[in-house]
Amino acid sequence: MNLTFFLLLSLLLFSAGLIAVMSRRNLVTVLVGIELMLNAASVNFMAFNFFVAPDPVVGQIIVLLIIGLAAAEVAVFLAILMVLYRARHEVDAEDIRELRG
């Protein structure tokens, strides 16, 4: 169990999230992808905090922050999603292009 292991784990998580975000058309899946990426970042922070700089617990604080932010973000995201679904009866990322320039 060393730093590299955790970094690889984080990379894996992040890549999975990225693939989900990039390739899935359903916005719920995209949301899941985003959550995965955030968690990858959290893992990274914790890993560095544990192995490299254990004394100031900055990493843990930031992870808490990320969790908080993620919760808020999910709430907002889901709210938008609900409204979108009500209005258009679909949550397809490729079809929702109202904000086209």
Partner: protein, 609 residues
């Protein structure tokens, strides 16, 4: 009363009448007439009292100060101002009285009399001005008043076109005058006329040679505009579109007289430059010939008189340029009297017969209007220079002045002009009084204009007949010796006049006269004269077109170039925005892809560094 108070009364009485009429009396023309007459009467009385009081020291009051540049406005009471001021006030008053009869049917009388007040005020203010810039201000106001009066019947397109032409052409001259005055101010720092004339500290002490000539030429430009000298003379005949009493005022004591008066005011300065003297002589006498030749073939009685004014103004300027202040001012004053008379007579005919055509006026029985015809004879005789009428004396003085100054060639030209003047004047008189046949019933149409029109004419007739008597007093006022001439020296001029009158008699007067002028046999020259030497056409073809072309060009520049350019810049910016906006395709995942791509590239770049 002090001269200051009197001069204020003289100048401002018409102005007060003007203000009261315009503000309060627009709907009460009769009252406005009364106010105008009262103003005119006060002005005449005050001017005459001033004249009786004799010359006095000028008064000044600080009017304008910007740093070192200070203007002291005030009034000058030398012989020139006093004499001419009185003439202006009297003639203006005569014309006001006459206008009561002439304009009695016009609904816009209030405006008319108000504008006469404005005219009187500005001209009198000009005459008594002590400061060159003050004079310029009143000079411009004179132009404004004549604009309004020429265009008085503003519903007539010809009238407003004439008014505009008068304003613009005099303005062209005024630009020269203005630049000249400003140059004087810049070079000397003074604009006070007596101070400028001072030989020790005045203009001549500051500038000389080319600069002086330039300044005086610029001033002369203004004078040429106002006094209708070539090449700025063409507005005056058109100004006939105004009511006839206005023409009488315009051609005699105001407007056109302003130019000559300014020349007389600054007389020593003009004489200081030989170039200017010769130029003025040449321009003035050329103008005299030009205008006289056009008058030879003109049928409109007012236009004949207008061209004669241009010629006589040329005479005055020539006399002044030749060095004789006395001759110039004498002719200015006497001409004012008899020219006003002639216009009033013409107005009397026009008022009655409602035509300007001389032959028609004659045919309709002009001769039966005895008093008017008597006035026409007196005025015409004076204009032609028949002894012992007023014009004879002044014209003698003018010719003598040119001859004594040694300009023989100019003198010959002036003689020719005198001959032409006599000829066309008597052509007019014969056409009006000795028609080939009179209209049926014209004999019964006896009676003359109403007395309000006849009385002013009678006053002016007296002036035109007896004007010669004022040579002595005028000389005294101006502080100049009245030159005396032998009979021999008068002979050439008298001869020229006699030939002119005789020829007119031969062509138009005698029983079996051909009633065609000798010029009509001259072919191309006749065409030239009839077309007024093509000056107007030339202006239309050159300046008129040029102004239009430039303004059209600049308008295009504005639309397509400047304004359009900025518009295009704005539009292009907006288009560029549109292009960039296309990247914003609304597909969230492509945004994320580009973010990641950019981050990856940045990381790569940082990594290889």
């Amino acid at each position: 009363m002090s001269p200051t108070l009197l001069v204020l009364l003289t100048i401002f009485a018409p102005f007060v009448a003007f203000g009261i009429s315009l503000v309060f009396l627009m709907r009460r023309p009769v009252l406005a007439q009364g106010v105008a007459l009262a103003g005119g009467a006060v002005s005449v009385l005050a001017a005459l009292l001033l004249l009786a009081g004799g010359p006095a020291e000028p008064v000044r009051h600080l009017w304008f100060a910007s740093g070192n540049f200070q203007l002291q406005f005030g009034f000058v009471f030398d012989g020139l101002s006093l004499a001419f001021g009185a003439v202006v006030a009297v003639i203006a008053f005569c014309i006001q009285v006459y206008s009561i009869g002439y304009m009695h049917h016009d609904p816009g009388r209030t405006r008319y009399f108000a504008m006469l007040g404005l005219f009187g005020w500005s001209m009198l203010g000009f005459v008594y001005s002590v400061d060159l810039l003050q004079a310029f201000i009143f000079w411009e106001l004179v132009g404004l008043a004549s604009f309004f009066l020429i265009g008085f019947w503003y519903e007539k397109p010809e009238a407003i076109a004439a008014a505009k032409k008068a304003f613009i052409m005099t303005r062209v001259g005024d630009v020269g005058l203005f630049i000249g005055v400003l140059m004087i101010l810049n070079l000397t720092g003074i604009s006070d006329i007596p101070a400028l004339l001072d030989a020790e500290t005045g203009l001549l002490a500051h500038v000389s040679g080319g600069t002086l000539a330039l300044i005086m030429m610029l001033l002369f430009m203004g004078i040429a505009g106002k006094s209708a000298q070539f090449p700025l003379h063409t507005w005056l005949p058109d100004a006939m579109e105004g009511p006839t009493p206005v023409s009488a005022l315009l051609h005699s004591a105001t407007m056109v007289a302003a130019g000559v008066f300014l020349f007389a005011r600054l007389h020593p300065l003009f004489l200081a430059s030989e170039v200017v003297v010769v130029t003025v002589l040449a321009v003035a006498l050329f103008t005299a010939i030009l205008s006289s030749t056009i008058a030879l073939v003109e049928r409109d009685i007012k236009r004949v008189l207008a061209y004669s004014s241009i010629g006589q103004l040329g005479f005055m300027l020539a006399a002044l340029a030749a060095g004789s202040l006395f001759a110039g001012v004498l002719h200015l004053i006497l001409h004012a009297v008899f020219k006003a008379l002639l216009f009033l007579c013409a107005g009397s005919y026009i008022h009655r017969f409602e035509t300007n055509d001389m032959e028609e006026i004659g045919r309709l029985g002009a001769r039966r209007m005895r008093w008017t015809t008597a006035g026409l004879l007196a005025g015409g005789g004076a204009l032609a220079g028949i002894p012992p009428l007023a014009g004879f004396f002044s014209k003698e003085e003018v010719l003598a002045a040119i001859s004594y100054a040694g300009y023989t060639a100019f003198w010959l030209v002036a003689l020719l002009a005198a001959f032409l003047t006599a000829y066309y004047t008597f052509r007019m008189i014969f056409l009006v009084t000795l028609p080939a046949r009179m209209e049926q019933g014209a004999k019964d149409a006896a009676g003359d204009s109403p007395w309000v029109m006849l009385v002013p004419m009678a006053v002016l007739t007296a002036g035109a007949v007896l004007g010669g008597l004022m040579m002595g007093p005028l000389g005294g006022l101006l502080g100049l010796e009245v030159p005396s001439h032998s009979l021999i020296s008068m002979l050439p001029a008298l001869g020229a006049v006699a030939v002119g009158v005789g020829l007119a008699w031969w062509d138009f007067g005698r029983a079996r006269a051909p009633r065609r002028g000798f010029v009509e046999a001259l072919g191309p020259l006749h065409t030239l004269f009839v077309n007024k030497w093509y000056v107007d056409d030339f202006y239309r073809a050159t300046f008129g077109r040029a102004v239009h072309a430039v303004s059209r060009l600049l308008q295009k520049t504005e639309e397509k170039g400047l304004d359009g350019g900025f518009d295009n810049a704005a539009i292009s910016t907006s288009r560029l925005g549109g292009l960039i906006a296309r990247l914003q395709n609304g597909w969230v995942q492509s945004y994320i892809a580009s973010v990641i791509l950019i981050v990856a590239l940045a990381g790569f770049y940082l990594g290889i560094r």
